[in-house]
Protein backbone atom coordinates (compact mmCIF):
# COMPACT_ATOMS: atom_id res chain seq x y z
CA UNK A 1 0.00 0.00 0.00
CA UNK A 2 2.73 2.39 0.96
CA UNK A 3 4.61 1.54 -2.26
CA UNK A 4 1.58 2.32 -4.43
CA UNK A 5 1.06 5.64 -2.70
CA UNK A 6 4.72 6.44 -3.12
CA UNK A 7 4.46 5.43 -6.84
CA UNK A 8 1.50 7.79 -7.39
CA UNK A 9 3.23 10.64 -5.56
CA UNK A 10 6.39 10.06 -7.51
CA UNK A 11 4.46 10.01 -10.87
CA UNK A 12 2.47 13.10 -9.94
CA UNK A 13 5.65 14.91 -8.93
CA UNK A 14 7.45 14.04 -12.19
CA UNK A 15 4.44 15.11 -14.34
CA UNK A 16 4.17 18.40 -12.43
CA UNK A 17 7.91 19.13 -12.85
CA UNK A 18 7.69 18.30 -16.57
CA UNK A 19 4.74 20.65 -17.00
CA UNK A 20 6.57 23.32 -15.00
CA UNK A 21 9.69 22.99 -17.16
CA UNK A 22 7.46 23.21 -20.26
CA UNK A 23 5.85 26.33 -18.97
CA UNK A 24 9.08 28.02 -17.98
CA UNK A 25 11.50 27.18 -20.74
CA UNK A 26 9.73 25.93 -23.78
CA UNK A 27 6.98 27.62 -25.61
CA UNK A 28 3.89 25.53 -25.74
CA UNK A 29 3.97 23.57 -28.91
CA UNK A 30 3.14 20.14 -30.19
CA UNK A 31 6.70 19.20 -29.99
CA UNK A 32 7.06 20.32 -26.44
CA UNK A 33 3.85 18.59 -25.49
CA UNK A 34 4.97 15.36 -27.15
CA UNK A 35 8.40 15.76 -25.65
CA UNK A 36 6.95 16.29 -22.24
CA UNK A 37 4.60 13.30 -22.62
CA UNK A 38 7.49 11.13 -23.83
CA UNK A 39 9.61 12.33 -20.93
CA UNK A 40 6.79 11.62 -18.56
CA UNK A 41 6.22 8.24 -20.12
CA UNK A 42 9.91 7.40 -19.77
CA UNK A 43 9.86 8.63 -16.19
CA UNK A 44 6.73 6.76 -15.39
CA UNK A 45 8.14 3.59 -16.96
CA UNK A 46 11.40 4.01 -15.09
CA UNK A 47 9.61 4.69 -11.84
CA UNK A 48 7.35 1.76 -12.40
CA UNK A 49 10.29 -0.50 -13.06
CA UNK A 50 11.97 0.89 -10.03
CA UNK A 51 8.83 0.45 -8.07
CA UNK A 52 8.51 -3.13 -9.25
CA UNK A 53 12.10 -3.79 -8.32
CA UNK A 54 11.53 -2.17 -4.97
CA UNK A 55 8.44 -4.24 -4.43
CA UNK A 56 10.23 -7.47 -5.31
CA UNK A 57 13.19 -6.51 -3.14
CA UNK A 58 10.91 -5.50 -0.35
CA UNK A 59 9.00 -8.71 -0.75
CA UNK A 60 12.20 -10.67 -0.69
CA UNK A 61 13.41 -8.70 2.29
CA UNK A 62 10.15 -9.28 4.13
CA UNK A 63 10.25 -12.97 3.32
CA UNK A 64 13.82 -13.16 4.53
CA UNK A 65 13.04 -11.27 7.75
CA UNK A 66 10.00 -13.34 8.37
CA UNK A 67 11.95 -16.60 7.97
CA UNK A 68 14.69 -15.51 10.40
CA UNK A 69 12.14 -14.45 13.11
CA UNK A 70 10.37 -17.74 12.80
CA UNK A 71 13.69 -19.51 13.09
CA UNK A 72 14.49 -17.53 16.24
CA UNK A 73 11.15 -18.36 17.80
CA UNK A 74 11.60 -21.97 16.78
CA UNK A 75 15.07 -22.06 18.37
CA UNK A 76 13.87 -20.37 21.54
CA UNK A 77 10.99 -22.78 21.81
CA UNK A 78 13.33 -25.70 21.29
CA UNK A 79 15.67 -24.35 24.00
CA UNK A 80 12.77 -23.89 26.40
CA UNK A 81 11.51 -27.35 25.50
CA UNK A 82 14.88 -28.97 26.14
CA UNK A 83 15.27 -27.01 29.38
CA UNK A 84 11.80 -28.16 30.41
CA UNK A 85 12.69 -31.71 29.48
CA UNK A 86 15.96 -31.60 31.42
CA UNK A 87 14.31 -30.12 34.52
CA UNK A 88 11.44 -32.55 34.25
CA UNK A 89 13.78 -35.53 34.13
CA UNK A 90 15.67 -34.20 37.16
CA UNK A 91 12.43 -33.58 39.07
CA UNK A 92 11.14 -37.05 38.16
CA UNK A 93 14.36 -38.68 39.29
CA UNK A 94 14.43 -36.70 42.52
CA UNK A 95 10.79 -37.45 43.27
CA UNK A 96 11.40 -41.15 42.67
CA UNK A 97 14.49 -41.01 44.86
CA UNK A 98 12.61 -39.21 47.64
CA UNK A 99 9.80 -41.79 47.39
CA UNK A 100 12.25 -44.67 47.62
CA UNK A 101 14.12 -43.06 50.52
CA UNK A 102 10.92 -42.41 52.45
CA UNK A 103 9.66 -45.94 51.75
CA UNK A 104 12.91 -47.51 52.92
CA UNK A 105 13.11 -45.27 55.98
CA UNK A 106 9.50 -45.92 56.90
CA UNK A 107 9.97 -49.66 56.51
CA UNK A 108 13.01 -49.49 58.78
CA UNK A 109 11.26 -47.30 61.34
CA UNK A 110 8.15 -49.46 61.27
CA UNK A 111 10.26 -52.58 61.81
CA UNK A 112 12.12 -50.98 64.68
CA UNK A 113 8.86 -49.81 66.24
CA UNK A 114 7.46 -53.31 65.90
CA UNK A 115 10.58 -54.70 67.52
CA UNK A 116 10.39 -52.09 70.26
CA UNK A 117 6.79 -53.01 70.90
CA UNK A 118 7.69 -56.69 71.16
CA UNK A 119 10.53 -55.89 73.51
CA UNK A 120 8.25 -53.78 75.63
CA UNK A 121 5.75 -56.62 75.79
CA UNK A 122 8.49 -59.07 76.75
CA UNK A 123 9.64 -56.65 79.41
CA UNK A 124 6.11 -56.35 80.72
CA UNK A 125 5.84 -60.12 80.91
CA UNK A 126 9.16 -60.43 82.72
CA UNK A 127 8.06 -57.78 85.18
CA UNK A 128 4.84 -59.67 85.82
CA UNK A 129 6.90 -62.78 86.50
CA UNK A 130 9.18 -60.84 88.84
CA UNK A 131 6.21 -59.39 90.69
CA UNK A 132 4.50 -62.74 91.07
CA UNK A 133 7.77 -64.26 92.26
CA UNK A 134 8.24 -61.42 94.67
CA UNK A 135 4.82 -61.84 96.12
CA UNK A 136 5.10 -65.61 95.92
CA UNK A 137 1.55 -65.87 94.69
CA UNK A 138 2.11 -68.15 91.73
CA UNK A 139 3.51 -71.06 93.70
CA UNK A 140 3.31 -71.58 97.44
CA UNK A 141 6.22 -73.98 97.32
CA UNK A 142 8.52 -71.49 95.63
CA UNK A 143 11.35 -70.34 97.83
CA UNK A 144 11.81 -66.64 98.21
CA UNK A 145 14.86 -65.10 99.79
CA UNK A 146 12.59 -63.64 102.41
CA UNK A 147 11.21 -67.03 103.43
CA UNK A 148 14.70 -68.51 103.24
CA UNK A 149 16.03 -65.95 105.67
CA UNK A 150 13.11 -66.49 108.00
CA UNK A 151 13.66 -70.24 107.80
CA UNK A 152 17.34 -69.73 108.58
CA UNK A 153 16.43 -67.65 111.57
CA UNK A 154 14.02 -70.31 112.82
CA UNK A 155 16.61 -73.03 112.19
CA UNK A 156 19.17 -71.08 114.14
CA UNK A 157 16.77 -70.73 117.04
CA UNK A 158 16.03 -74.46 116.94
CA UNK A 159 19.76 -75.09 116.90
CA UNK A 160 20.24 -72.92 119.97
CA UNK A 161 17.43 -74.74 121.74
CA UNK A 162 19.05 -78.07 120.86
CA UNK A 163 22.40 -76.90 122.21
CA UNK A 164 20.81 -75.76 125.46
CA UNK A 165 18.82 -78.97 125.83
CA UNK A 166 21.98 -80.99 125.20
CA UNK A 167 23.82 -78.96 127.84
CA UNK A 168 21.05 -79.47 130.31
CA UNK A 169 20.91 -83.22 129.75
CA UNK A 170 24.70 -83.46 129.83
CA UNK A 171 24.69 -81.71 133.17
CA UNK A 172 22.11 -84.15 134.45
CA UNK A 173 24.24 -87.02 133.15
CA UNK A 174 27.16 -85.36 134.88
CA UNK A 175 25.43 -85.47 138.23
CA UNK A 176 24.68 -89.14 137.65
CA UNK A 177 28.30 -89.92 136.88
CA UNK A 178 29.36 -87.97 139.94
CA UNK A 179 26.99 -90.11 141.95
CA UNK A 180 28.46 -93.22 140.32
CA UNK A 181 31.94 -91.99 141.21
CA UNK A 182 30.88 -91.59 144.82
CA UNK A 183 29.43 -95.10 144.77
CA UNK A 184 32.76 -96.42 143.53
CA UNK A 185 34.51 -94.59 146.36
CA UNK A 186 32.14 -96.48 148.72
CA UNK A 187 33.18 -99.75 147.13
CA UNK A 188 36.81 -98.79 147.73
CA UNK A 189 36.19 -98.28 151.43
CA UNK A 190 34.37 -101.65 151.59
CA UNK A 191 37.36 -103.22 149.85
CA UNK A 192 39.57 -101.69 152.58
CA UNK A 193 37.45 -103.39 155.18
CA UNK A 194 37.71 -106.69 153.30
CA UNK A 195 41.47 -106.18 153.17
CA UNK A 196 41.54 -105.61 156.95
CA UNK A 197 39.66 -108.89 157.42
CA UNK A 198 42.17 -110.71 155.22
CA UNK A 199 45.16 -109.33 157.10
CA UNK A 200 43.54 -110.23 160.44
CA UNK A 201 42.88 -113.75 159.12
CA UNK A 202 46.51 -113.90 158.02
CA UNK A 203 47.67 -112.86 161.50
CA UNK A 204 45.30 -115.38 163.08
CA UNK A 205 46.65 -118.16 160.87
CA UNK A 206 50.21 -117.16 161.84
CA UNK A 207 49.32 -117.36 165.53
CA UNK A 208 47.64 -120.72 164.97
CA UNK A 209 50.78 -122.00 163.24
CA UNK A 210 52.96 -120.85 166.14
CA UNK A 211 50.65 -122.55 168.64
CA UNK A 212 50.63 -125.71 166.55
CA UNK A 213 54.45 -125.75 166.46
CA UNK A 214 54.56 -125.38 170.25
CA UNK A 215 52.18 -128.36 170.66
CA UNK A 216 54.70 -130.63 168.85
CA UNK A 217 53.50 -133.78 167.15
CA UNK A 218 49.99 -133.36 168.51
CA UNK A 219 49.64 -130.01 166.73
CA UNK A 220 51.07 -131.20 163.40
CA UNK A 221 47.59 -131.61 161.83
CA UNK A 222 46.47 -128.23 163.12
CA UNK A 223 49.58 -126.62 161.56
CA UNK A 224 48.45 -127.84 158.12
CA UNK A 225 45.01 -126.25 158.66
CA UNK A 226 46.67 -123.03 159.88
CA UNK A 227 48.80 -122.91 156.71
CA UNK A 228 45.75 -123.41 154.51
CA UNK A 229 43.91 -120.61 156.29
CA UNK A 230 46.96 -118.35 155.73
CA UNK A 231 47.02 -119.24 152.06
CA UNK A 232 43.32 -118.34 151.84
CA UNK A 233 43.96 -114.96 153.41
CA UNK A 234 46.77 -114.28 150.91
CA UNK A 235 44.50 -115.28 148.04
CA UNK A 236 41.80 -113.07 149.46
CA UNK A 237 44.21 -110.11 149.49
CA UNK A 238 45.22 -110.77 145.89
CA UNK A 239 41.58 -110.92 144.81
CA UNK A 240 40.97 -107.68 146.69
CA UNK A 241 43.79 -106.02 144.77
CA UNK A 242 42.40 -107.28 141.48
CA UNK A 243 38.99 -105.82 142.34
CA UNK A 244 40.63 -102.51 143.29
CA UNK A 245 42.46 -102.40 139.94
CA UNK A 246 39.26 -103.13 137.99
CA UNK A 247 37.31 -100.49 139.87
CA UNK A 248 40.14 -98.00 139.31
CA UNK A 249 39.87 -98.72 135.61
CA UNK A 250 36.10 -98.11 135.81
CA UNK A 251 36.82 -94.84 137.62
CA UNK A 252 39.22 -93.79 134.88
CA UNK A 253 36.56 -94.58 132.28
CA UNK A 254 34.04 -92.53 134.24
CA UNK A 255 36.49 -89.63 134.26
CA UNK A 256 36.80 -89.91 130.48
CA UNK A 257 33.01 -90.01 130.27
CA UNK A 258 32.84 -86.87 132.38
CA UNK A 259 35.31 -85.19 130.02
CA UNK A 260 33.11 -86.09 127.05
CA UNK A 261 30.00 -84.90 128.83
CA UNK A 262 31.75 -81.66 129.71
CA UNK A 263 32.70 -80.99 126.10
CA UNK A 264 29.13 -81.88 125.10
CA UNK A 265 27.68 -79.49 127.64
CA UNK A 266 30.07 -76.60 127.01
CA UNK A 267 29.32 -75.12 123.62
CA UNK A 268 30.67 -71.65 123.02
CA UNK A 269 27.75 -69.41 122.13
CA UNK A 270 29.87 -66.62 120.60
CA UNK A 271 29.74 -68.00 117.05
CA UNK A 272 26.02 -68.65 117.42
CA UNK A 273 25.61 -65.10 118.64
CA UNK A 274 27.44 -63.80 115.59
CA UNK A 275 25.40 -66.02 113.27
CA UNK A 276 22.24 -64.77 114.91
CA UNK A 277 23.35 -61.16 114.42
CA UNK A 278 24.15 -61.85 110.78
CA UNK A 279 20.76 -63.45 110.22
CA UNK A 280 19.05 -60.49 111.88
CA UNK A 281 20.98 -58.11 109.63
CA UNK A 282 20.06 -60.30 106.67
CA UNK A 283 16.39 -60.18 107.56
CA UNK A 284 16.54 -56.41 107.74
CA UNK A 285 18.52 -56.19 104.50
CA UNK A 286 16.21 -58.55 102.63
CA UNK A 287 13.20 -56.60 103.81
CA UNK A 288 14.85 -53.40 102.65
CA UNK A 289 15.81 -54.85 99.27
CA UNK A 290 12.35 -56.34 98.84
CA UNK A 291 10.71 -53.01 99.47
CA UNK A 292 13.03 -51.19 97.11
CA UNK A 293 12.63 -53.86 94.41
CA UNK A 294 8.89 -53.73 94.83
CA UNK A 295 8.87 -49.97 94.38
CA UNK A 296 11.12 -50.10 91.31
CA UNK A 297 9.18 -52.96 89.76
CA UNK A 298 5.92 -51.13 90.30
CA UNK A 299 7.39 -48.02 88.67
CA UNK A 300 8.60 -50.15 85.77
CA UNK A 301 5.15 -51.67 85.43
CA UNK A 302 3.70 -48.21 85.08
CA UNK A 303 6.40 -47.39 82.54
CA UNK A 304 5.56 -50.21 80.11
CA UNK A 305 2.11 -48.94 79.05
CA UNK A 306 3.69 -45.52 78.49
CA UNK A 307 6.28 -47.09 76.21
CA UNK A 308 3.50 -48.86 74.33
CA UNK A 309 1.56 -45.63 74.01
CA UNK A 310 4.63 -43.80 72.72
CA UNK A 311 5.33 -46.58 70.23
CA UNK A 312 1.75 -46.35 69.00
CA UNK A 313 2.07 -42.60 68.53
CA UNK A 314 5.25 -43.30 66.55
CA UNK A 315 3.49 -45.89 64.43
CA UNK A 316 0.61 -43.53 63.83
CA UNK A 317 3.04 -40.84 62.80
CA UNK A 318 4.38 -43.18 60.16
CA UNK A 319 1.32 -42.42 58.02
CA UNK A 320 3.36 -39.41 56.93
CA UNK A 321 4.74 -41.85 54.37
CA UNK A 322 1.27 -42.05 52.87
CA UNK A 323 0.89 -38.30 52.90
CA UNK A 324 4.36 -37.76 51.49
CA UNK A 325 3.73 -40.41 48.85
CA UNK A 326 0.49 -38.75 47.82
CA UNK A 327 2.21 -35.37 47.68
CA UNK A 328 4.96 -36.78 45.51
CA UNK A 329 2.42 -38.51 43.27
CA UNK A 330 0.55 -35.26 42.74
CA UNK A 331 3.90 -33.63 42.01
CA UNK A 332 4.24 -36.24 39.25
CA UNK A 333 1.02 -35.00 37.67
CA UNK A 334 2.67 -31.56 37.48
CA UNK A 335 5.68 -32.99 35.72
CA UNK A 336 3.31 -34.79 33.35
CA UNK A 337 1.76 -31.43 32.51
CA UNK A 338 5.22 -30.11 31.81
CA UNK A 339 5.86 -33.18 29.70
CA UNK A 340 2.71 -32.51 27.65
CA UNK A 341 3.80 -28.91 27.17
CA UNK A 342 7.20 -30.20 26.05
CA UNK A 343 5.58 -32.51 23.51
CA UNK A 344 3.37 -29.70 22.19
CA UNK A 345 6.41 -27.52 21.77
CA UNK A 346 8.24 -30.30 19.99
CA UNK A 347 5.36 -30.69 17.56
CA UNK A 348 5.46 -26.94 16.83
CA UNK A 349 6.92 -26.41 13.35
CA UNK A 350 6.73 -23.24 11.23
CA UNK A 351 7.35 -25.24 8.08
CA UNK A 352 3.80 -26.58 8.30
CA UNK A 353 1.64 -23.68 7.26
CA UNK A 354 0.76 -20.38 8.84
CA UNK A 355 2.90 -19.44 11.80
CA UNK A 356 0.29 -17.26 13.44
CA UNK A 357 -2.17 -20.07 13.32
CA UNK A 358 0.36 -22.47 14.82
CA UNK A 359 1.12 -20.04 17.63
CA UNK A 360 -2.56 -19.70 18.21
CA UNK A 361 -2.92 -23.45 18.43
CA UNK A 362 -0.03 -23.59 20.88
CA UNK A 363 -1.63 -20.90 22.99
CA UNK A 364 -4.89 -22.81 23.07
CA UNK A 365 -3.09 -25.97 24.05
CA UNK A 366 -1.40 -24.03 26.84
CA UNK A 367 -4.78 -22.78 28.05
CA UNK A 368 -6.11 -26.35 28.02
CA UNK A 369 -3.13 -27.55 29.98
CA UNK A 370 -3.60 -24.75 32.54
CA UNK A 371 -7.27 -25.66 32.95
CA UNK A 372 -6.42 -29.32 33.31
CA UNK A 373 -3.73 -28.55 35.88
CA UNK A 374 -6.18 -26.36 37.80
CA UNK A 375 -8.70 -29.19 37.79
CA UNK A 376 -6.12 -31.67 39.02
CA UNK A 377 -4.98 -29.23 41.69
CA UNK A 378 -8.51 -28.73 42.92
CA UNK A 379 -8.95 -32.50 43.27
CA UNK A 380 -5.66 -33.22 44.97
CA UNK A 381 -6.01 -36.38 46.98
CA UNK A 382 -3.88 -34.99 49.77
CA UNK A 383 -6.23 -32.91 51.78
CA UNK A 384 -4.98 -34.06 55.15
CA UNK A 385 -2.40 -31.69 56.46
CA UNK A 386 -1.93 -32.98 59.99
CA UNK A 387 -0.66 -36.32 61.25
CA UNK A 388 -2.85 -36.24 64.31
CA UNK A 389 -6.01 -36.65 62.32
CA UNK A 390 -7.29 -40.17 62.15
CA UNK A 391 -5.67 -43.36 63.34
CA UNK A 392 -3.83 -45.69 61.04
CA UNK A 393 -2.73 -49.06 62.34
CA UNK A 394 0.04 -50.25 60.08
CA UNK A 395 0.42 -53.69 61.58
Amino acid sequence: MQNKLRLILWTGGVVSIAILIDLLFIELSHFSVIFTLVLVAIFVFLIREDHKNNLIQEENNTAKGKTSTEQDIQNTLTSIASLLNQQMIIIDTEVDRASALIRDAVTGIADSFKYLKNLSEDQQQMLSTVISHQQGIDDDKSMTIESFVHDSSATLEDFVQVIIATSKQSLEAMSFTNEMSRQLEGIFSLLGQVEGLASQTNLLALNAAIEAARAGDAGRGFAVVANEVRALSVNSTELNNDIRIEISKAQAIIEQLQGSVESMASADMTSTLEAKNRVSEMVEHVGDVNNKTKTVVEELTLLSPKINETVEIGIRSLQFEDLAHQTLTSLKSNTETINLLYQEMNQFDFQQGDSAEQLNVLQQKCQQLIQKADYVNDNRSVSQSSMDEGEVELF
Binding site: S167, M269, T272
Partner: protein, 102 residues
Protein backbone atom coordinates in the same frame (compact mmCIF):
# COMPACT_ATOMS: atom_id res chain seq x y z
CA UNK B 1 35.16 -67.19 138.90
CA UNK B 2 33.11 -68.21 141.85
CA UNK B 3 29.64 -69.01 143.06
CA UNK B 4 28.31 -67.10 146.07
CA UNK B 5 25.10 -67.92 147.85
CA UNK B 6 23.04 -65.75 150.17
CA UNK B 7 19.93 -66.93 151.93
CA UNK B 8 17.50 -64.35 153.37
CA UNK B 9 13.94 -64.08 154.75
CA UNK B 10 13.52 -67.47 156.33
CA UNK B 11 15.21 -69.37 153.49
CA UNK B 12 12.54 -68.11 151.09
CA UNK B 13 14.92 -65.96 149.07
CA UNK B 14 18.12 -67.42 147.78
CA UNK B 15 20.51 -65.26 145.80
CA UNK B 16 23.25 -66.92 143.79
CA UNK B 17 25.94 -64.63 142.31
CA UNK B 18 28.29 -65.71 139.57
CA UNK B 19 31.55 -63.81 139.25
CA UNK B 20 33.60 -63.94 136.02
CA UNK B 21 33.16 -66.83 133.63
CA UNK B 22 30.00 -68.91 134.02
CA UNK B 23 30.93 -72.22 132.41
CA UNK B 24 31.09 -75.94 132.98
CA UNK B 25 33.77 -75.74 135.66
CA UNK B 26 31.19 -74.22 138.01
CA UNK B 27 28.56 -76.87 137.53
CA UNK B 28 29.26 -78.74 140.75
CA UNK B 29 29.42 -75.58 142.87
CA UNK B 30 26.32 -74.20 141.19
CA UNK B 31 24.39 -77.41 141.73
CA UNK B 32 25.52 -77.57 145.35
CA UNK B 33 24.21 -74.03 145.83
CA UNK B 34 20.58 -74.99 145.24
CA UNK B 35 20.21 -78.77 145.35
CA UNK B 36 19.55 -78.89 149.07
CA UNK B 37 17.02 -76.02 149.09
CA UNK B 38 13.87 -78.05 149.07
CA UNK B 39 11.35 -75.74 150.73
CA UNK B 40 8.27 -74.86 148.75
CA UNK B 41 7.83 -71.40 147.18
CA UNK B 42 11.45 -70.41 147.21
CA UNK B 43 12.64 -67.59 144.95
CA UNK B 44 16.02 -68.13 143.40
CA UNK B 45 17.63 -64.88 142.23
CA UNK B 46 20.55 -65.39 139.89
CA UNK B 47 22.74 -62.29 140.00
CA UNK B 48 24.70 -62.09 136.74
CA UNK B 49 25.86 -58.47 137.12
CA UNK B 50 29.51 -59.47 137.42
CA UNK B 51 29.35 -62.35 134.96
CA UNK B 52 31.62 -61.71 132.01
CA UNK B 53 31.02 -64.83 129.90
CA UNK B 54 28.49 -67.58 129.58
CA UNK B 55 28.50 -70.75 127.51
CA UNK B 56 25.75 -73.24 126.76
CA UNK B 57 26.45 -75.24 129.92
CA UNK B 58 25.58 -72.12 131.93
CA UNK B 59 22.24 -72.00 130.12
CA UNK B 60 21.79 -75.70 130.88
CA UNK B 61 22.56 -75.04 134.55
CA UNK B 62 20.02 -72.22 134.66
CA UNK B 63 17.40 -74.54 133.13
CA UNK B 64 18.24 -77.21 135.74
CA UNK B 65 17.87 -74.56 138.46
CA UNK B 66 14.52 -73.60 136.92
CA UNK B 67 13.39 -77.25 136.89
CA UNK B 68 14.47 -77.59 140.53
CA UNK B 69 12.66 -74.39 141.55
CA UNK B 70 9.49 -75.34 139.71
CA UNK B 71 9.46 -78.81 141.20
CA UNK B 72 9.24 -77.02 144.57
CA UNK B 73 6.69 -74.39 143.41
CA UNK B 74 9.37 -71.73 143.31
CA UNK B 75 10.71 -69.48 140.56
CA UNK B 76 13.93 -68.11 139.14
CA UNK B 77 14.75 -64.43 138.53
CA UNK B 78 17.81 -63.38 136.56
CA UNK B 79 19.19 -60.10 137.84
CA UNK B 80 21.11 -57.41 135.92
CA UNK B 81 22.85 -59.43 133.22
CA UNK B 82 25.66 -57.61 131.38
CA UNK B 83 25.13 -56.69 127.73
CA UNK B 84 27.02 -59.65 126.27
CA UNK B 85 25.37 -62.09 128.70
CA UNK B 86 21.97 -60.58 127.94
CA UNK B 87 22.49 -61.19 124.21
CA UNK B 88 23.13 -64.87 124.87
CA UNK B 89 20.00 -65.02 127.03
CA UNK B 90 18.06 -63.42 124.17
CA UNK B 91 19.35 -65.93 121.62
CA UNK B 92 18.34 -68.74 123.99
CA UNK B 93 14.95 -66.97 124.28
CA UNK B 94 15.23 -67.11 128.08
CA UNK B 95 13.15 -63.96 128.36
CA UNK B 96 10.20 -66.17 127.41
CA UNK B 97 11.02 -68.71 130.12
CA UNK B 98 12.29 -66.61 133.01
CA UNK B 99 11.98 -63.19 134.54
CA UNK B 100 14.96 -61.07 133.65
CA UNK B 101 15.34 -57.92 135.73
CA UNK B 102 17.69 -55.26 134.49
Amino acid sequence: MSVKKQVTENSKKIEISIDGRFDFSLHQHFRDAYVNCKENGQVFTLNLSTTSYMDSSALGMILLLKDHAESHSGKVIILRPSESVNKILEIAQFHRLLTIEQ
